[in-house]
Symmetry: D2
Subunit: 252 residues, 4 copies
């Protein structure tokens, strides 16, 4: 492997509120999960994000979420599958038009936050996301957690799937993420994060929270963009990969 | 003239709230102004409306509005032009994706309510709407009031324009609409409305509120869909046109 | 027993959208669950509803819900308890001010829809509602399902509780409601509903879906206001109670 | 004069988005304009802000605004006066309940952003704000621009008025604010701001943009809290006032 995809959430500002340093992230990642207005991102923020991504040569994905600005799309919402599918189509279409206005295209779909977590196991909502993507463009890949319901159903439906790992999250020996409520769940030291990512990219494995090594194939690695140290972390990751002769380039 | 376009606002329900009898309107009109979610219409309502319109052979237009659900997009909002343009692109794109999921396409853009009224004279907001439509698809016509800023700028920008007249509104001798605050501004009798429309379609003129006749060319005639007598009115108009040998067919 | 409280959901219109015939319901019920703006009800609707309720001598309760206009507050939302408590305080306060502006007062709190259902068993969210009510006014009773977590915790906290039964819902032999997905779950015939209510009021029992009789004490009986036959049903209930010499009067 | 009131906008975070450093501002100001949820501030943010204000001994005011989260309440919205009044009552009531839950009270009302600017001259909207405040509590003062319609109408209605000046804004010789579009409209140097405020507090005058001195009485001075240098500026103002023997204390 001589290249790996790094993805990050961007376009999460809204109106007067700024979140993340998208410009800085664009110099480190190859894929941008752009908020679509339901959990974050207003049309002007979204369009500017598409413009910056296009200028930086970063691939644009639709970061679709629950309709919940107040909760930033992080809270499970028991929306029925048919309505969820329509919500997802709406968001992808809105992003497509704003991207096109900047000469860019939407290349993949990555569910956000509470929806991302729900469709690891919630079959009906997972199916709704798959239906939505298929109805918009069967050529659009879905990015998600390895082993999740949404990726299983996407494959069944003939969609391309993109698995991802998390640069700053600790793994259990069974490959699931350590719950955020447990100590050590989130890696904060840029050097630790860089080592974590390097192992994913070069050995396709992770060191789990109990110290063992676990095989883990990921087509893309998620680098968070909205924490205080996000830019430093992304820079450390980029630098470590460069040192190992691994380039950062889009999966798509 | 052997045919005329009738347009009506549809897709204006939202969540638990139902507005208008879209199914009935589809049997009388040829063009459907579909709400795009900012003033009315949730993704599920929008998609069902696109499906019904497609089944009825009715042309779909994007009824874009201010971001103001509480005010139904009827209140002037002093949004700056760059943001307004992005809001319009977002709405058109969302509708395009939902229409496409139902095998249909968006064929024109008609601004709604407060925005419609503002861009009769508000040059900056009118320009924003034109910029938005052009950036999405320079082939999309804009529907608006004859003589309005938005149609003037649309023509300058090389966009096709579609002029409309109102089936149930009285006109002043100078071709402007009689203000709703004045008596007689709105026609309520289906027979009066049918006669009004017939004159528009056959003579390209209207009888004004002072009784004189005024030349008025309209590519489309708007029939309101959300009033109690809307369906009866649309039926009367359809019947009167049929009696005069005029078919109802999309401008597009 | 010579009197019983009937409650109904009102104030559920929003902006351009009208729902229910509140004026008609006010002539049949004694307690009004007024929407507070999070699932339905804008400030103008809420205030007008308070005015009408006050004029009709109907007691006002705060019908607090999840922040979810698009879902009408019917979808479970996994909001954390501390935030839910604040959402509830906010809604009660807003209603209190609008009621006071019309010379009226908020006399009780009834959670709505998805929240109502969740806190039958969701202890953390139930506790949040109790905390919220207590922090606003420990004298405000909470209305809910007999045997629910929210009423259990309310009692523990020293709040007054008000149990309710449903005029148009069938009961299982264990006292739970028959799921809406099963046939016979909802009673549609005004005569059946009237008989159901009469038995609740006179015998404090219900005939369950399998035909047996079940003891059921309810301080209030909920009559739905937003279905097509709502007014006819409420009128039938009122008439049946009058025939049995039972007056309709507020629990509060 | 041995004391002056300093006020600042706080509680303007929303969900995932943080704005301003409220804790720092509380150590410099005596009055806090707390967002009420329509332009900014969710219930949890609002309650925490009330708690912090109460702990710091800072007076709480209701910073009411247009219903426009996407525009942060800065855009003029042509809402009709009756609805605007209800929107204002709703917001004040919500804040009152959250403040009360923290053992605090709302002591004044200050309109925000686009509404603040509109009711300098828009008589109907100004009257709506006055009506709203009066209907909630005729003892609540309204804070606004000296000479504005809203203060004129408030006085007519028997409400107490509180005039304010702006610490970081340049004035025209006629006492109006220099438009933000002109150079020099906003003072950025903490030393300049401190001098500006000191002159307001000690001489009740301001040096205008053409260098002349203008008499200007203000009951309170607004220090902005959401700019990058806000805290430094507030600290400089506090220090300058202390050096002149002037204490900072609430007008209320």
């Amino acid at each position: 492997m001589t290249s790996i995809d790094l993805n990050s959430d961007v376009g999460e500002s809204f109106g007067r509120w700024t979140l993340g340093d998208d410009a800085a992230m664009f110099s480190s990642v190859s894929s941008a999960n752009v908020a679509c207005g339901f959990h974050a991102g207003d049309p002007t923020v979204i369009r500017q994000t598409c413009r910056s991504a296009a200028q930086a040569g970063v691939t644009i994905g639709a970061h679709v979420g629950y309709r919940d600005l107040a909760g930033f799309g992080r809270r499970f919402l028991d929306v029925n599958p048919a309505e969820l599918a329509d919500d997802v189509v709406y968001q992808i279409g809105a992003l497509q038009a704003l991207a096109a206005a900047e000469g860019a295209r939407v290349r993949y779909v990555k569910p956000h936050g509470g929806l991302y977590n729900a469709i690891v196991s919630h079959t009906a909502q997972a199916g709704a996301v798959v239906d939505a993507v298929k109805s918009v463009d069967p050529g659009l890949p879905i990015m998600g957690l390895p082993g999740s319901e949404v990726l299983r159903l996407a494959e069944q439906a003939g969609l391309r799937t993109v698995t991802e790992a998390f640069a700053d999250r600790a793994y259990n020996p069974d490959g699931t993420l350590v719950s955020r409520s447990r100590p050590g769940a989130v890696l904060h030291d840029p050097a630790d994060v860089a080592e974590h990512v390097l192992r994913m990219a070069t050995e396709q494995s992770v060191r789990t929270i109990d110290g063992s090594l676990l095989k883990l194939h990921a087509d893309s690695i998620c680098v968070h963009g909205d924490s205080p140290g996000a830019v430093a972390m992304a820079t450390a990751v980029k630098s470590a990969l460069a040192g190992a002769g691994i380039s950062i380039s889009p999966f798509a």
